[in-house]
């Protein structure tokens, strides 16, 4: 969700009123793309009745695996033939020892790319001003949503009746 000028943050004590508040926001015509949940524990999409989110991380992992394999081929295949050392009658390029190095380097590529994919997709590190309240890591559940200025008073009132502890158009804070 892109946090524009009309972004609001509603803070709830629990996940149940938060999921009801999501329904209320839908009734006001706010699109799914214009709202998100912030919480201290992960809640699955089915808990919140939200559309399934997808991620490209597995694709990055596979790409990393392939790159690792290519790197293994380069240092344990091509380079070994350039700098030949005869060992115990084995071929300069021997498949059994290649498999070992190739496995390790492919897995290393996979793991590094998985890690980097999280950093990349989450746009980390990101310390700038963002919609956030420290109470979230104490168990509160927040809904951040974009809302047209003409209805934001009605939306605030509606969410307050559902138990929103803190609802107003916030100043984004540095994290």
């Amino acid at each position: 969700m892109r946090e524009g000028n009309n972004v609001h943050l509603a803070l709830f004590k629990d996940v149940d009123p938060a999921s009801e508040a999501l329904d209320k926001l839908r009734e006001f015509g706010i699109a799914e793309d214009d709202m998100t949940i912030i919480s201290g524990v992960p809640f699955s999409e089915k808990v919140l009745g939200r559309p399934i989110l997808t991620t490209n991380i597995p694709k990055f992992s596979i790409a990393g695996f392939m790159l690792g394999l290519l790197a293994a081929l380069a240092i344990n295949g091509i380079a070994v033939l350039q700098y030949p050392i005869r060992v115990g009658g084995m071929a300069n390029f021997a498949l059994p020892s290649f498999f070992i190095v190739a496995f390790e380097m492919s897995m290393l590529g996979c793991l590094i790319f998985t890690f980097l994919a999280v950093i990349w997709e989450c746009a980390f590190p990101s310390y700038g001003p963002k919609m956030y309240r420290p109470e979230i890591s104490d168990g509160r559940v927040a809904i951040v949503f974009n809302c047209p200025p003409e209805i934001h008073t009605q939306v605030h009132d509606a969410l307050a009746t559902l138990g929103a502890e803190w609802v107003h158009r916030t100043e984004a804070t540095k994290i």
């Binding site: 969700m1 919480s39 020892s97 290393l108 890591s137 168990g139």
Partner: protein, 476 residues
Amino acid sequence: MTAKAIPLPQSQVEEEEDPRQHLLFDPRPREELNSMVLEAMHSTPISFWIAVIILTLLVIICLFGAWGYMAVVGMGTAGIRRPTFWGMFIANFVFWIGISHSGTFVSAILRVFKAEFRRPFTRAAELMTAFGLAAGAMYPLIHLGRVWVSYWIFPYPNNRWLWPNFHSPLVWDMVAITTYLLGSTMYLYLPLIPDLAMARDRSKGWRYSLYRIMSLGWRGTEEEWVRLRTAIRIFAFAIIPVMFSVHTIVSWDFAVTMAPGWHSTIFGPFFIAGAIYSGVAAVIMIMFLIRSTMLNMKYFMREEHFDALGKLVLVFSFTWTYFYFSEYMLGWYGGDAADKALWQAITHGPFAWLWYLMLICNILIPWLTLWNKKIRRTPWVMFIICLLINVGMYTERYLIVPSMIARNRFPFDWDSYLPRIELVISLGSLSLFMLLYLLASRLIPLIPVWEVQEGQFAHTLRKVGKTHVPSVSETE
């Protein structure tokens, strides 16, 4: 014919376990969980600083001082002599790499199989992996002697026309340990991010700055959680084969030689069983120390966890014994003169006291004690049992490395190995491990709070008839 109901004896009814004794059925508000973990982190009594100072001195003097002295004077200061060219350094290397398997086992394998009891101690185990690997990875460098040329093992174009020998298990070791060290460090860090953000939100001063940088701007949006959980799942699956490969490759350092006692096709799985055995025992020891020395940890690390891990230790004791007996059986039965002489020396000769110590610690003690639930649920007893298991596992590595190599195929070349500066350096590396752990315990949340709370959300007690039964819902 009618069935007759027989009431349970009163003592048996009283013994029935209350599910609320389990962490996941004894929820507390998140705010309180956070406070408990942070209070434990912030508490640094005088005993903590005394321990830090002593360990720092031991690391400086025994590890870096003794290592530096050996580098300047030469490898003659060590007890390594012909024919025992692999001594205590390599035994320590195998031991520490073995210990490091616990983190992956406890965290990744139990995560994949959704063993819920893992939740409070996964991070403690993952830290053991990272620091155990750091301690273990130093030993090839120490053993190398001329440590300043260690970069020759790295594959990069150079004008010496030297390229690492990729047929050598030592190069495989370097590649595998690098993969495992980097992989397990990233696997430690990823689930830590939300807890670092929690610490950031409740800290001031230098701690705030540190956690702010380390938490990378985490907020806990839906997108962030989905990405994090996907990555953790990939890591959990991918790091398991890496873990198996690392200790298999360590075992091949020995098994690919023609030395008696080493040349074995089952060394890979045998080493892995031993590594997980000693690693899980070490996790229990760490859990006991955390529980006894840090505030509020008795709430998170309970008897149930010692019980569950105690069962795993017993299973791996059986597995290790099975492999060890297979090794012994074929050496004894095979008729190879060198093998027979080796096993004679181990079972009746100069190494017999080590052999019996190993059998007592690794087989007799766990088999006599760990079947008993009361013992498994008594943390201090488990600590002693696991300490003895690790003494036994270290003895096993000592028997495999310097003892076996001292009885080679040439009787005129037999000798006994007597460690010298190795003992000091070993104390130094143990101190390094303890120091790193001690410092980490005050810098990062040792309990994955969000994972514990997630588990508490998923676990409820459901009333069935006249009793309450545990019920677990699928929240992922």
